[in-house]
Symmetry: C2
Subunit: 385 residues, 2 copies
């Protein structure tokens, strides 16, 4: 991948800078498009080029209008135009941010997925997904290293009267061991997503495999389950009742994991993290339960203020790491939310004596590339001896 | 579910018999439609009723034509008609067979999935799926019993120069054990499918959980990987080279499983089964390798003849169980294939002294309901002590 990127980047340095500086328009499109790595087997489209442009091609010979929801921010997606052979084609107006993006098609007024791509659960539906190759994609690439397993479990949940699904990442060698016990990170998805997000979109298992292979992190388990977030209307956070999910997590899932996996089942070896809505869940649950979790991370999901610490003195005393992260584009247009500016809050909490870390993912928004990088940053500092 | 079915069945006994007998047409539709159990969360359509009719409703206000590939055999699917509110609606012309069906939409000449359903990999693409409740659905239902885990593994494959994915079902209690070892069934999907099919469409893990809970089968592992079948053109079987997949299976996957899981790693405790194309792979590989597998099952995937046994005398001597199955509708219109009539073959092999079993799934075709039932029949006889 790298060798293919060298020439386009050189060209961009010369051509791109002029284009940007003199006209403010987008750089000339380089015709080195390749199928997105998230396409279904054998599917050519959608394609991406070395600059991050995405190109679509959809068969619908009798359609009146085909539109792609993905496009540059605020420009309303990408309109496709009909070709003489019954396909609809189009290219984004400019380069997309690096990493994973959700999208869907509108075909004659109906919402459908692009038949070229794999599907990913987001926005409370299975959506199309596309991957813009990132300059740092190596940390989540599938490599020839020992791989952990991702186990689908069905755990009993009396409070919701069903067997609930979770996924458990076990690090390489876990299944061969007989006595070694591991710390655990409980890792939550965002609104509209589910327990599949952190491995499918987030590549959490590959991030861990690669970190472990390089000796950069202690091996630990990651447990991912559905956060019951999707009945929440956007903006209706103040009415969100954390109790049903907290009951599932604390009273049902954690005991199941500690019974069925070789965990270190005490507070010092248990962490919780979440992205967006899952960060807000993490915030609420860990503030109220500092006896359960010793490490806390919120990815694009709010922050913790001095006021929070005053109200929850045990949190400051018992939690050994507080990690807050955002995509840089989120901070350009801050949505301060009910908890104030995350950077200011985190600095104040740090000055008050807590072990905190604030991370900003460069040139990414409220999307999975920010959260992949956040996990990559977080993992090595989680359970350091 | 059962209580909802009693009244419609009573009505059918009276009304349905007249309708069928006098006109040959389909029974009157009973308006007790409910969302298919394979719909995405919160989606009402597609729906199914107690007779097995399927009803579709697709939003596409500006479309000219919307068509569903699912319909009664040979009638070309189901054409939808436009309603005044911008939706396209339609109901199958008659009751569908019980169980799982793949389908897709044609919208203005393009192929798309129904946005209401989960997706299932078949026909070399992620397809829509619908579930017609079966009278025997209890054996693959999610119940309040101990559940095994389904582990995604990435195993090294030098022959294909990548890490390949497989899923491993481990029975309830496996992860708590320290020394108990288990037999293994290698279980293959069909053409156009992949390693996700046996759990997503086939519900193999739930079939096993339920059988084990009732004490009807010995617990064993099931290993499911991609059979590399999808480059084969339909009908191009005679050109199919089994060697690449056989190498992955015998030289790479089996050693990985025996190293990383607590298996009984000898021929008496290793079985292979497959459906359709996967049955043909099973047939070829086990005939050539009777030292590796002691139990062999072909689901809608050919049979083994006396001639095969003459050519492969070790197979008859070393294989302890040969299980052949078909959906009854496949035998109504037999496609004898290159290996002759499966029932005649199996009877001849049985008379020659092999332990064989021939199973026919009632009122099902070349579809997953036949294969769910086949696994349910096979499992208890696989590793009986």
């Amino acid at each position: 991948m790298k060798s293919n990127r060298i020439i386009p980047i050189l060209i961009l340095t010369v051509v791109g800078s002029i284009t940007f500086a003199q006209t403010g328009s987008q750089p000339a499109i380089i015709e080195d498009f390749k199928p997105s790595t998230l396409n279904q087997p054998g599917k050519e489209y959608p394609m991406v080029n070395s600059q991050g442009y995405a190109r679509f091609r959809i068969e619908a010979p009798d359609a009146q209008n085909v539109h792609v929801s993905l496009g540059l921010g605020g420009r309303g997606g990408t309109k496709l135009t009909k070709t003489s052979d019954g396909f609809w084609e189009g290219t984004t107006e400019g380069p997309m941010d690096e990493g994973f993006h959700y999208y869907h098609l509108t075909v004659d007024g109906g919402t459908f997925n692009d038949p070229g791509t794999l599907n990913f659960y987001g926005s409370v539906r299975w959506e199309s997904g596309i991957e813009i190759p990132a300059h740092d994609q190596d940390f989540y690439a599938l490599k020839d290293v020992p791989h952990g397993h991702v186990q689908q479990i069905l755990f009993p949940s009396p409070s919701t009267k069903t067997s609930r699904r979770a996924f458990v990442y076990t690090p390489p060698g876990y299944e061969k061991g007989q006595s070694k016990r591991y710390p655990v990170l409980y890792l939550q998805h965002g609104w509209g997503e589910d327990e599949t997000a952190w491995t499918n979109q987030g590549r959490a298992n590959l991030i861990m495999d690669n970190l472990i292979a390089e000796g950069k992190t202690e091996p630990f388990l990651i447990v991912m389950t559905y956060g019951m977030t999707n009945e929440i209307k956007f903006g209706g956070l103040k009415d969100f009742d954390i109790n049903p999910f907290q009951t599932v997590l604390l009273d049902e899932l954690i005991p199941y994991i500690d019974t069925n996996f070789r965990t270190l089942s005490d507070q010092p070896h248990r962490a919780m993290a979440g992205l967006s809505m899952g960060g807000m869940e993490t915030r609420t649950i860990t503030l109220a339960n500092p006896d359960v979790f010793s490490r806390v991370a919120l990815f694009s999901g709010g922050s913790i203020s001095l006021e929070d610490l005053e109200k929850n003195p045990d949190f400051k005393e018992k939690v050994e790491l507080l990690f807050i992260s955002y995509g840089s584009r989120e901070l350009e247009n801050p949505r301060r939310g009910p908890w104030g500016d995350p950077k200011e809050n985190t600095e104040a909490v740090k000055e008050s004596g807590m072990n905190t870390h604030f991370y900003v993912s460069p040139d990414t928004a409220h999307e999975f590339q920010s959260w992949r990088r956040s996990l990559y940053q977080l993992a090595p500092m989680l359970f350091k001896e």
